[in-house]
Amino acid sequence: MGAVSLFIPCTVDFMMPEVGEAVVRLLRRLGVEPVYHEEQTCCGQPAMNAGYPAEARKAAKHFIETFGDDEVVVSPSGSCTAMVKYHYPELLRDEPSWHGRAEELSNRIYELSQYLVDVLGVEDVGASFDGTVTYHESCHILRRLGVSRQPKVLIKKVKGTTFIPMDQADACCGFGGEFSFRYAFISEEMVREKVDHYLKSGADLLIISEPGCLLNISGYLSRNNPDKKALHLAEFLAGVQEGGVK
């Protein structure tokens, strides 16, 4: 098994480091020893989304320098993965040497569930959880990466788990980075609806593969429905067996 290099998004690094730890535990359990380049910073999305592609380009180059030689890069975020996969080649179009490296990297980066199922060929990660679970289809994972089956397969193969689909699972939760506070009055309606669908599903647990959505939905649950939890897929797959939800 070749080396797997981790890209840990800023939100995870700074706000939810336990998600990153779960990724490491999960991979190790599957016999994959991850590499983590301590030089990594950010994929550049905040600058890109705010209209500063030149600054995003700096982040992109740093990213390519940091990860450029890795065989496989895995990230527990679909939006960061999509940023590298689709925006880097576009951002660096006018710089041929960089552009080539960006294109190459584009083919070697995977969102976590995509890596586990499509590359590693694993569906049963050997976890167990006694209860019902539903899944939120994050926008970038679903619509940008076309990843939807993989996380659900992983969830369904967890022993003791019953998967319950939730209504409008593919509707945006209202995060959108800056959108979540700049247009909070719309964002909070969106997350409220998302949580309503989760509650109506009757599931014990909501699984999310995108850190941004997780911050948003967990943040809402924490305030309004503290008895209900949302977990990152990595935490669910890695942590449940070892003593459950933190």
Partner: protein, 481 residues
């Protein structure tokens, strides 16, 4: 049409309190979206059908000048008079002069988005000519002097009580009713009289066909057909991006338009004009004017990144699925086009300075791009508009933002600096935390905390923990790599 795009937030906040509109928005878009999926299934391969639509629109935009000339040549050969207008006032002036020359005091109009852009109705009124919108929804919106709530249902949110009052006052309705059907028939009677006597009818154009010089209109009510059958003069306005190469292209787009727009296999009426009526015909226009309107589009065309916005066919599928439109409705977008369609079109046509909220109030969820039968990449355009806006900020009031991102970019490229800034910022944020949660914080993030908590930024980041775990691992296993 009056531009009100600067009041996005204010209007959206107001509209979100409008329970009538909210109830309606919770219901209609999902129903249309479900119908759409069902009727797309009539294509053996729905995604390929969408792809063909995208290819046709991409080709139409790529070959625009050639197609326009070919269209004009064939339309003129068929007896139509083709006029060109650089901007809104030129377009309006052309229509007005046609009306004046024929001493027309009243005109009827079929739905035409380009005429909403140019403010043709206001121009008519200012010149003593009474325009009557004849699409039921447009008629109501016009009489109420409101922008369209939805491209397909411009007044679909208006309570029946309000429509009743309006029709009693302005449409000669005698008996009060709140039954939508009876209200509709009252409008039928009122407008039928107009159709019967009208001498000049105005329409838009859904598709123009280069190879035949024909224009195609898609509708359900029949009001456009009346405008093309009853008056002696027909004036059809089209924006420059409407031309496609062939009749078969037009047919495919009509199939896609109807499915994506209302979830219909086809609308009740599709009408195709190639020139004015033939001499022997008993009805139809003796003269057909086709006005090709630029109104900023050739400038958009010059910008290779923005050009794709001209692919839009105004089907409205993006409105029905947009998670934000479905909360705020059509008014906040402040102009002729609403929803994601308006978010890409309004900034392109009005400029990014007046339309900031339109391309910023978006989570980039990509539902609009996914569903678009014309191949518009909305999120990509939003990012581009944000870039254009940021370039302006570098020189003006938002300079702090530009400086922030400049610093951010430098930090993102230098790990040490990146970590240093985190150590600097963390305590500032963390002091709002209590028991691992932040429940309120002043400043730009304030809005988040009205309904949501945030974890306190970690004292030990993932990197810190990785270092520790790796060093423990190294101790216990005698080294890794």
């Amino acid at each position: 049409m009056k531009v009100n795009t600067r009041n996005f937030v204010q209007t959206a906040e107001r509209e979100m309190q409008n329970q009538y509109a909210r109830a309606f928005l919770a219901l209609m878009p999902p129903v249309i979206a479900a119908l759409r999926v069902q009727v797309m299934g009539s294509f053996p391969d729905p995604e390929a059908a969408q792809e063909l639509g995208r290819a046709i629109r991409a080709e139409a935009v790529a070959r625009m000048p050639d197609l326009l000339e070919e269209f004009e040549r064939n339309a003129v050969a068929a007896g139509a008079r083709v006029l060109w207008a650089r901007d809104a006032s030129e377009a309006n002036e052309l229509v007005l002069s046609i009306a004046r020359e024929r001493n027309v005091t009243e005109v009827t109009k079929g739905k035409s988005m380009i005429s909403e852009e140019t403010g043709l109705n206001e121009a008519f009124k200012n010149n003593g000519i009474e325009p009557f919108e004849t699409d039921l929804g447009e008629f109501i919106a016009q009489q109420l002097e409101r922008p369209p709530f939805h491209i397909v249902g411009p007044a679909i949110n208006v309570p029946v009580e309000e429509i009743c009052d309006l029709f009693m006052k302005k449409a000669g309705m005698e008996k009060a009713t709140t039954d939508p059907v009876e209200l509709g028939y009252a409008a039928r009677l009122f407008l039928r009289d107009k159709f019967r006597r009208v001498r000049m009818g105005i329409t838009g154009v859904n598709v123009a066909v280069a190879e035949t010089g024909a224009i195609v209109n898609v509708e359900n009510e029949g009001n456009i057909r009346f405008n093309k059958s009853s008056p002696l003069t027909q004036v059809s306005l089209m924006s420059i991006e409407k031309v496609v190469p062939t009749m078969n292209d037009a047919l495919h787009l009509v199939r896609l338009l109807c499915r994506n727009c209302t979830g219909q296999g086809i609308s009740a009426y599709v009408s195709i004009d190639r020139g004015p009526k033939m001499k022997e015909e008993f009805d139809g226009p003796e003269e057909l004017f086709i006005i090709i309107v630029d109104n900023g589009r050739s400038r958009i065309y010059e910008d290779v990144k923005m050009r794709q916005v001209l692919r839009c066919i105004r089907c409205g599928a993006c409105l029905n699925l947009c998670p934000i439109y479905s909360k705020i409705g059509g008014y906040p977008y402040g102009w002729a086009y609403s929803g994601p369609m308006g978010q890409v079109l309004n900034p392109a046509l009005l400029g990014v300075d007046d339309t900031s909220d339109l391309f910023n109030a978006c989570t980039l969820c990509g539902t609009c791009r996914e569903i678009c039968p014309a191949g518009v990449d909305h999120p990509e355009l939003f990012l581009y508009y944000r870039e254009l806006e940021a370039e302006g900020k570098k020189m003006s009031s938002g300079r702090w933002e530009a400086r922030f991102f400049k610093l951010w970019g430098t930090a993102a490229a230098h790990t040490g600096l990146w970590r240093f800034f985190y150590r600097l910022v963390r305590p500032v944020v963390a002091r709002y935390g209590k028991e691992g949660k932040i429940k309120a914080m002043p400043g730009p993030f304030e809005g988040w905390f009205k309904t949501r908590d945030l974890p306190v930024p970690a004292r030990r980041t993932f990197r810190d923990r990785w270092r520790k775990s790796m060093s423990e691992k190294n101790l216990s296993r005698g080294g890794m790599e």
